[in-house]
């Protein structure tokens, strides 16, 4: 039971990450590999506010999301000028720089030593210390993120995002300032990733920069490629499958070290096979 709860919490966190990246990659066609950076910024802001400032989790989570959004805004101003491969490379650059800052701004982040002992959330005297209560909280946040994303994708804004993915230049002729749309969706996605980061920090109670590097960005990306680009449900399904996969591998009886590597092999092969035979992913409508 507890084990199931643990996986369910991790699933919710990664589903939020997948949904938020889906808006950027799947809907808008911007291949961002900086997402783990915003996940990390949210996690660090929440961790530091909880631990050093003694703030309540919920306002801290809000500030974490806003902090991620602010950084995303500054990066996005530059990044929104690019498209396709160059967008991916630019975001890679910023992702690595964000990681370097988390790693090396030691006065604030304690660098590679990480931040231990992050407290669990509290609301009106109730502490979300049991995993069950934490799962409830994560599900509520996941639901909120999903509902908001759904609202977004059904709006005229969502339609414009998809048109950007298809032909940014042609869309601009119809009066859309496409770079503002790209900036907006990047900032919104970063805010959601910040929420996921805060949830992660308070759940695991320990964070260090290693959880927010480029490899993690690539992992989040593989969630939505597997689930299917351009589909919110696909993002959720992708997160579910890839969170359960390593457990299945462990169940088969690999040692932890081999299981970790086998997981990587399966991710890799999955990506290749999907690209060869089903580039739209499990549930996606949109082909890259």
């Amino acid at each position: 039971m507890e084990y199931f709860l643990h996986l369910a919490i991790l699933f919710s966190i990664f589903a939020i990450l997948a949904i938020s990246l889906q808006l950027i990659v799947g809907y808008t066609g911007l291949l961002s590999v900086a997402h783990a950076g915003f996940y990390g910024i949210g996690a660090y802001i929440v961790a530091l506010l909880l631990k050093n400032a003694g703030m309540n989790f919920f306002p801290a989570l809000l500030l974490g999301a806003l902090g991620s959004m602010l950084v995303a805004f500054l990066i996005g101003i530059v990044l929104s000028r690019f498209r396709d491969d160059y967008y991916a490379l630019g975001s890679l650059g910023f992702g690595v720089i964000a990681f370097s800052i988390l790693l090396n701004w030691q006065e604030l982040t304690r660098g590679p030593l990480g931040i231990p002992g992050i407290p669990r959330p509290e609301l009106f005297g109730f502490e979300f210390s049991s995993n069950l209560s934490y799962l409830l909280l994560s599900f509520i946040l996941l639901g909120a993120v999903y509902a908001f994303s759904r609202f977004l994708t059904l709006s005229s804004f969502g339609r414009a995002l998809q048109a950007i993915r298809e032909d940014e230049e042609a869309l601009s002729v119809f009066g859309y300032r496409t770079s503002w749309f790209k900036l907006a969706v990047f900032v919104i996605g970063a805010g959601m990733a910040g929420i996921a980061g805060g949830l992660f920090a308070s759940y695991i109670t320990y964070i260090d920069p290693g959880s927010f590097n480029v490899t993690e960005s690539i992992f989040i990306l593989s969630l939505i490629i597997l689930g299917g680009l351009g589909s919110l449900r696909g993002a959720v399904v992708g997160a579910l499958v890839l969170i359960l996969l390593p457990e299945a591998l462990r169940f088969v009886g690999f040692t932890p070290d081999i299981a970790a590597q086998m997981r990587q092999v399966v991710y890799g092969v999955l990506l290749i096979v999907l690209m060869l035979y089903r580039p739209q992913g499990l549930m996606g409508k949109y082909k890259l």
Binding site: Y3, P112, S130, S133
Partner: protein
């Protein structure tokens, strides 16, 4: 169609709340009681650079458990280890602690091997009332961190002081430091730097991440400072190996100080005998004449056809299992009681000698100064 969908969603939400709420209620009323094998959690590194410790240390723990089990176990029940990979990394250790505490429901954990593992796991185990016993984490910050944390390996506050005093005594005033970015290494540096400054010296530090491979520019920068000595604080012999190779290539000349994990690896010391000639180290020493120490070394050599490396950790790891077994026999399978018992240990005889735990949860022992001579460790002043 639209209406029906909404109703479905609502039903699912209600069901979820009922399910989760119900499970919550029942989960609160469950208690684990021990009627079978005694489960002890282990958080050691099995992947990454520090994996060089994980495997031999697990062997040592198993040797201890086999001996205890052969002699009747704990009240007739055998000891079983639940082993998790802490990767010498905080996140992995925190995950491992979460799993051991919440899923395996252990009451006592041996670990983390690395200070970073212990620092990350401690808040989780403490909150859950689980005892955390480290036989190797040496960061000074762990002293008195929680009533539920105990260790039988000394704090690096003594390693840093012993080495700093040796440096000053040998006329070093300006000391270059190459420090791995881990809690263990940072802890040693902090103490070392304070002690050097107190004695009118200075340090120049360059840090490196565990996955660094190219130290040339850092070395060049330190070389340009023209220091009297260089203190290499590596968290594992693996990064030390890379550093020594490049130090040699770049013709490093001034004398060296090395952290205890380097001195604890005889192969590494032998391989770089010429570079390390005259280098100082401070280790928590081993006593070859202690029969309990011989017991574990012999058992290990017999079973695995090779002498165990890192013998300072072998002795404390071996003792850890016996101490915990004794604690459970005395006070039962309860984390808080086990921790309380362990913190009261006085003049206990084990492979690491006579052990007394002080009020900080640290052992009343320290590091001794050693010097490397033709690829071998010699204790200074014996």
């Amino acid at each position: 169609m639209q209406e029906g969908k909404k109703r479905n969603v609502l039903t699912v939400i209600v069901l979820l709340i009922v399910l989760i709420g119900g499970a919550w209620f029942f989960a609160g009323n469950l208690k684990t009681s021990v009627t079978g094998p005694v489960r002890i959690g282990v958080i050691h590194p099995f992947t990454g650079d520090a994996a060089v410790y994980g495997e031999p240390m697990l062997r040592v723990l198993n040797l201890a458990a086999e001996k205890i089990n052969a002699e009747g176990g704990i009240d007739g029940y055998p000891i079983e280890f639940v082993v998790e990979d802490g990767k010498c990394d905080g996140t992995a250790a925190a995950n491992a602690a979460q799993k051991l505490v919440n899923i395996d429901k252990v009451e006592v954990i041996i670990g983390g091997f690395c200070s970073g593992e212990a620092l990350a796991a401690e808040p989780i185990t403490t909150a859950a009332g689980v005892a955390l016993f480290s036989s190797s984490a040496s960061n000074p910050k762990l002293s008195g961190i929680s009533p539920l944390f105990v260790r039988n390996y000394p704090s690096d506050s003594s390693q840093g002081v012993v080495l700093a005093d040796a440096a000053i005594a040998n006329g070093m005033r300006k000391i270059a430091v190459l420090q791995e970015q881990t809690d263990y290494a940072a802890g040693i540096y902090e103490v070392f730097d304070a002690q050097i400054q107190e004695n009118g010296g200075t340090t120049h530090k360059e840090e490196y991440t565990t996955d660094s491979y190219d130290f040339r520019t850092s070395i060049a920068k330190l070389q340009a400072e023209r220091p009297d000595g260089l203190f290499v604080i590596a968290n594992s012999p693996v990064s030390a190996e890379r550093i020594f190779k490049q130090l040699k290539e770049m013709g490093w000349e001034s004398s060296l100080l090395v952290s205890d994990v380097i001195a604890g690896d005889p192969t590494l010391v032998a391989t770089h005998a010429d570079l390390l000639e005259g280098a100082y180290a401070a280790e928590f020493g081993v006593d070859d004449n202690n029969p309990k120490f011989r017991e574990v070394i012999d058992a290990y050599s017999a079973k695995y056809m090779t002498e165990p490396p890192f013998q300072a950790y072998v002795q404390t790891g071996y003792d850890a299992v016996f101490l915990i077994a004794e604690a459970i026999k005395e006070v039962g399978y309860d984390g808080e009681k086990i921790a309380a018992w362990l913190r009261d240990v006085e003049s206990w005889q084990g492979a690491s000698g006579t052990l007394t735990i002080n009020s900080n949860g640290d052992p009343e022992v320290g590091h001794r100064l050693e010097v490397i001579k033709s690829g071998k460790i010699e204790v200074v002043g014996e």
